[in-house]
Symmetry: C2
Subunit: 227 residues, 2 copies
DNA sequence: CGTTCGTTAGTTGTGTACATTTAATCGACC
DNA sequence: GGTCGATTAAATGTACACAACTAACGAACG
């Protein structure tokens, strides 16, 4: 809320997403308070807020831990993102101004350069910025808030598995293709590419899906299949 | 977290969803603390947690208020729910046990009776239970958590506009039809009905959509249109 | 030797006092 | 008479002290 609590939230979020705290690691209030030079009160506030963002799990009388997502959870997250961000891309195709699209293209181009240079930290940062920018273009705070949480969870993945070269190129191309679809004011196209983009990311990060898995949404249920 | 804080959260949630606090109404910490017989600390905790659930807005140094959703936000919420709960219904068609489906049918039947008798409070409660039960059948805590927030926002609507008789009958029939689709193990069918169910609820609650609205997802982008 | 119960250290939950910020009211000046 | 500014009251943010709970260690008994 106030500057102290805000700073604690920002710092902890950065550290968790940066991998300085491993999934499942305990986050003691007193330890954090000493380390950050504040009292327990703003630390408690910050942990509650991060719990709201889905980054930590809090159990009564047992404290806070960094969240651990199951493989199935992560599959569902990308499934949902594919649909919701697909809708956002469709909306952006009609709502975005030329300047908005320029801005998005700028991010996508920078993303390609950093990707080819192998600067992964920049890639992760710009990728998050690209998606959040696009979701905002849908003009819906609900979309931004809903997907924001899911994106955080997705980012926690990055320590698990890195994209191979082919997947990285696919991802870069998707970002650029979506910009093209927006310029063409083609909502169908934009939604379809975004859908594919997130399902391909899921495949790259999680590997082949187990067919006998309790399927939440089949790969075959893609919304847009005009042809 | 502890019993006191939990009780405050439950009570405030009930009061907010029950309409005892109007959207936009201020929630003072001291006032609530006195009224509930606890100190400010658990009240603050509770307000932070309700903020996480999307029921209150907290601004630094300015306190907590009951959330106010814009009409556009609510349209987006139902749009997202249509997709995500549609996916959940599809997954449930393969994952649900016969006992699960029986339980769901029991809820749907009770819902029909209460609806015909005009007991709206029971209708709202059972409707929330039906959706949350079905989403849980998808076996994904992510779906449950994501949609849970959106459902809360939807419930806040109920003071705005009541279903007319035709809409109420449609809603009841949808719930029963989804049960039938689950029994048939037909994921496509279940998803399609759920999608229609939520878009029809949106229409009933929000009235006709303004065509020139910055469209986030067109009515025409329904995923399942086999015929 | 294993199990169980009690004690103890550490952690989280709660209450309260103090600091800081916000907003409104009153007064003075233009 | 109106507007700008300062003072004051009330709210939230922070810190610290105490209470309650958890879990781990150790001892005693079977």
């Amino acid at each position: 809320m106030t500057a102290a609590s805000d700073r604690v939230v920002d710092r902890l979020r950065e550290q968790i997403l940066g991998g300085e705290y491993a999934p499942g690691e305990r986050l003691g209030e007193v330890e954090l308070a000493e380390k950050l030079g504040v009292s327990r009160t703003p630390v408690r506030d910050a942990l509650r807020r991060l719990s709201a963002e889905g980054l930590v799990d809090i159990t009564t009388n047992k404290g806070a831990r960094v969240v651990e997502y199951l493989r199935a959870d992560l599959e569902h997250i990308f499934q949902i993102r594919a649909h919701v961000e697909g809708l956002a891309a469709r909306a952006a195709a009609t709502a975005a101004s030329a300047a908005d699209i320029d801005r998005l293209e700028h991010i996508a181009t920078a993303l390609r350069e950093h990707s080819e240079a192998g600067r992964l930290n920049e890639v992760y940062r710009l990728n998050a910025e690209y998606h959040s920018t696009l979701n905002n273009l849908a003009g819906s705070s609900v979309v931004t808030a809903t997907v924001g949480q899911l994106i955080h969870a997705s980012v926690l993945l990055r320590t698990l598995h890195a994209f191979d070269d082919a997947a990285r190129r696919r991802s870069v191309n998707h970002h650029l293709e979506i910009v093209a679809a927006l310029r063409a004011r083609d909502g169908d196209w934009a939604e379809a590419v975004m859908h594919a983009h997130l399902l391909s990311a899921r495949a790259s990060l999680l590997g082949p899906r187990r067919v006998q898995a309790p399927a939440y949404g089949d790969p075959a249920d893609t919304p847009e299949e005009p042809e």
